[in-house]
Symmetry: C2
Subunit: 344 residues, 2 copies
């Protein structure tokens, strides 16, 4: 039989005192409420003895706090996001928060629905990798003083907490690194998106190419085509039409994967002959042949910063006066074989 958990009332009855006193003691307000040392100890000991766990649902109903955070990403099965989730999970648990992960597939409707679903009262805070068109929804969350942090990307001009990386610099450095290794016809394969992170990556590339007096070669694949699995076709066609490329810079990990598939299918040697860099690291990159250079995001640092920004918001009663923090973190270029100068 399901044993009914003990309630604060049971404790009170057992100890022949009032629920108030029990509640005060259990919430560490014994001192503040001038409750005697002996009584305090008695309550604490008994609670420990019976291994008392407060009913969090009741607590939530009363306090309006659920100790639940929502961590909404594009796709939790994506290596980058699942790694991030894993680290954030630990940090959150440490602070007494549970995390609900969900995937919005970069789709506005799904994202909106999800945010509504965790409708305002049930969740203490949101960490969101926003899809392109939910700016209004985010703005409303902010207006309603709900703790929210944008992750990975943000909306230009919208005043909201965010933790992102310096995409432009990362992309510039990666491109420059290819150029330093004698590559001249570097292409940039990305999604057709004006989201901040892609915008930054594109501009970093363009800047590096321009500064070095080279020609840009850009492929931007519509996101819904990628969803449909058409990414490979686009890349294949692009490679066929641009035979003189000598290096490829993939702006996301899934594009890198598709790209490598195409190269592999076309001609195994291509992978060795081209300069190759991928945005976002992958464990397999270091055992590929050649090993693949990547732009690695600082996963631990991102997660830590998220919690650092989130915690004060959760603590405060009224966050309407808090200024929004915009954290920009540096990436690391992990140089491996694929981007080094080729000896022909």
């Amino acid at each position: 039989m399901k044993k009914k958990p003990v309630s604060i009332r049971n404790i009170a009855e057992e100890l022949k005192i009032s629920v108030t006193t029990v509640s005060f003691v259990l919430n560490g307000k014994a001192k503040e409420k001038h409750i005697s040392k002996e009584l305090t100890k008695k309550v604490l000991d008994y609670a420990k003895l019976i291994n008392y766990r407060p009913n969090q649902v009741a607590q939530s109903l009363r306090t309006g706090k659920s100790k639940l955070l929502v961590f909404m990403v594009e796709d939790i099965s994506n290596n980058f996001f699942s790694q991030l989730a894993r680290i954030f999970e630990d940090i959150a648990y440490e602070k007494g928060y549970k995390v609900i992960f969900c995937s919005n597939e970069n789709d506005d409707d799904k994202a909106n629905e999800l945010i509504t679903l965790f409708s305002f009262r049930q969740v203490d805070g949101f960490i969101i990798v926003p899809s392109p068109g939910i700016r209004d929804t985010i703005e409303n969350l902010v207006k309603d003083n709900i703790p929210v942090i944008l992750l990975d990307r943000f909306y230009e001009g919208l005043d909201c907490n965010s933790v992102v990386i310096d995409n432009e610099q990362a992309s510039f450095d990666a491109t420059q690194h290819l150029i330093d290794n004698k590559f001249k016809n570097i292409c940039f394969i990305s999604t057709a998106s004006d989201q901040s992170q892609m915008y930054g990556r594109l501009h970093g590339y363009e800047k590096a190419v321009e500064v070095n007096g080279l020609e840009p070669h850009i492929l931007q694949i519509p996101f819904n085509e990628i969803i449909k699995g058409k990414g490979k076709e686009y890349i294949k066609k692009f490679f066929e039409q641009n035979k003189d490329l000598d290096a490829v810079f993939f702006s996301t990990n899934y594009l890198a994967q598709s790209g490598l598939e195409v190269l592999k299918e076309t001609n195994q040697n291509l992978i060795k002959d081209l300069g190759l860099i991928a945005f976002d690291d992958n464990d397999m990159f270091k055992i590929y042949d050649p090993t693949i250079t990547s732009v690695a995001q600082p996963l631990v640092e991102i997660s830590t910063k998220l919690m650092e920004v989130m915690l004060p918001l959760l603590k405060k009663k009224d966050i309407s006066e808090t200024t929004h923090q915009k954290i920009v973190l540096k990436t690391e270029l992990i140089i491996r074989e694929s981007s080094l100068v080729k000896q022909k």
Copy 2:
């Protein structure tokens, strides 16, 4: 300002009827309670108009149901588990359930703590990839009639719902496939674990080797050594001591990764000369050179079955009479270049 959500009482007042009526209508019990069509429609329309969302916390407190499921795996950042999570997430949302993912690191203490944390009342059901020593905890959950399904592995002799794959058959088939391709000195690299899934994989391998009159070559690495990142060292040493191996069967995806790293570091050609199979597929396997044969678990089927088993348990008031289901699913051997007969 945070706008206060409308409550069922607000609706009642606005419509000048009682909360009961509103509650009944909103819970689809209008017919059952003989509430007039007009009133029903009025309530429904108004609720829609103001976009009413019930406070789920209050609902939970009252009903004891939270619409929350816990999905506890070894490590959510592991590709296999994150893929599974992604699919299960969708299926659960469809049924109105939210999912809390967490990682137990295959550690008993962490697993126990997590289960206690989601202490019995707050969560409607558990899906658990159990660490080796939490048999008692699971048994208690079962005794307390809490819906729980074991995933990926189970405890011999413990009567509990489970969804697993036929590890022994999968492993036998994979090994036999290597043998069919003329490999004679096939080694099996695994963890030192008597958990059911590893036991099955080991036995499948042993059986296939024996049936074919070959010698087994087995490396079992202690799990805590793997955690410490010592996996590669063990594998390296094993390869050095067994120079005559012509094929390797990795029992998990992280071991395959470590193994490939070792092979790569030792001698790039080894990867092409050895027969190679990995348990659990990975997107990168099909673009590796050579492409890598793997035993793929049926992710969608697993997730579907989990929900199929879970839903009835969630619905029933008393599940003490239900018989526990043990679902065993078939895997698929995805044959790629790495396991085909080598032309020397």
